[in-house]
């Protein structure tokens, strides 16, 4: 896999990124728009495709792939494109999953843990605050750990869960990328709106090449929307990928 090396001027490295479209994806166009607005070359990968077309990164967008039947992400995980994505990730390829994409990555075994129904058992759609928690993961490395980033969520099954042993590994390897917090970046029980284990909003794998998060940074990356905190996450991600490679 070829990775374009970071230059000393941030944001000029252009990546070829594949955004996977499953039946039921509904945030794919938002993701494509956001990535293209950052000058990346984006191609759409259909769930039945078996060729990643030489992309340097794969993004699994939000939505309700296969109607969320059985469990969120459970059926998407066995779609033809995912076999390629899993192979790509296992070779060190970069993969980002947002919302349903995160659920698919957990079901695929590319990320540890799983997403359960929200504790309230209701679908929650609102802006929440995120505290960057990993200084070694590309997507959060450049962010201010004392700042609460405002990013929208929209999910019914975003309650992150992993067993105690897995949680200990996540902490030991600095794999927790974001945690739900209050406006002052304090990680509190009150800010944990969906009941996630340890307020976890997103994690990465031990290799730091696969990232998953429930909140939607692509919905907060255009100045016209009045919030560009999400763009900061993408900037951190793309600025650090080549360094990690």
């Amino acid at each position: 896999m070829s990775i374009i090396l970071r230059t000393f001027v941030p944001q000029i490295s252009i990546m070829k990124i594949g955004v996977v479209v499953f039946p039921g994806s509904n945030c794919d166009q938002d993701m494509i728009y956001t990535l293209r607005s950052m000058n990346h070359e984006v191609i759409e990968l259909w769930h039945k495709d078996t060729d990643l077309q030489g992309v340097e990164m794969v993004v699994l967008p939000g939505g309700f792939s296969y109607g969320d039947y059985l469990r969120s992400g459970a059926i998407a995980r066995f779609s033809p494109i995912m076999e390629q994505v899993i192979e790509f990730a296992n070779k060190g390829g970069y993969v980002l999953g947002v919302c349903n994409g995160f659920q698919v990555l957990c079901e695929s075994g590319l990320l540890p843990g799983t997403l359960q129904h929200n504790l309230s058992h209701t679908f929650i759609c609102k802006n929440v605050y995120l505290k960057p928690s990993s200084k070694t993961a590309a997507i959060s490395a450049d962010l201010d750990e004392n700042k609460a980033y405002t990013i929208p969520v929209a999910h019914g099954e975003g309650n992150y869960y992993a067993d105690a042993e897995t949680l200990a590994e996540l902490k030991a390897n600095d794999q927790i990328i974001f945690r739900y917090c209050d406006a002052n970046a304090a990680v509190t029980e009150a800010a944990n709106f969906n009941g996630a284990l340890d307020n976890i909003a997103g994690v990465c794998n031990a290799g730091k090449n696969v990232f998953g998060m429930m909140p939607h940074p692509e919905r907060a990356a255009d100045p016209n929307l009045g919030n560009t905190d999400g763009a900061e996450l993408f900037k951190s991600l793309f600025n650090n990928l080549a360094v990690q490679a």
């Binding site: 059985l70 059926i75 066995f78 799983t114 359960q116 129904h117 504790l119 869960y161």
Partner: protein
């Protein structure tokens, strides 16, 4: 031979089951406060073609492990009967 499997999938006992909890707490609203501890899982029926019962069970078990359940949050049991 064709077999039919009936699979019960339940959330692990250690996990909170918000759906079951909500139903549990609504029992008093229908005058059945005696009912508590509701936990909600899934029941799956399927048919499987196999040479014998042991082979049918192995295929059902594989389906459970690969797709039908998530071992992190769910456990399962099943019965297989010849059709």
């Amino acid at each position: 031979m064709k077999f039919r499997a009936e699979i019960n999938v339940m959330p692990h006992k250690a996990l909170l089951d918000p759906q079951g909890k909500a139903v549990s707490s609504s029992m008093k609203n229908i005058g059945l406060a005696e009912i508590t501890g509701v936990r909600i899982g899934k029941h799956i029926h399927l048919e499987v073609e196999a040479d014998d019962e042991a082979s049918a069970k192995a295929k059902v078990d594989e389906a459970c492990k690969k797709l039908l359940i998530n071992p992190i949050t769910e456990n399962y049991e099943f019965e297989v009967m010849a059709l």
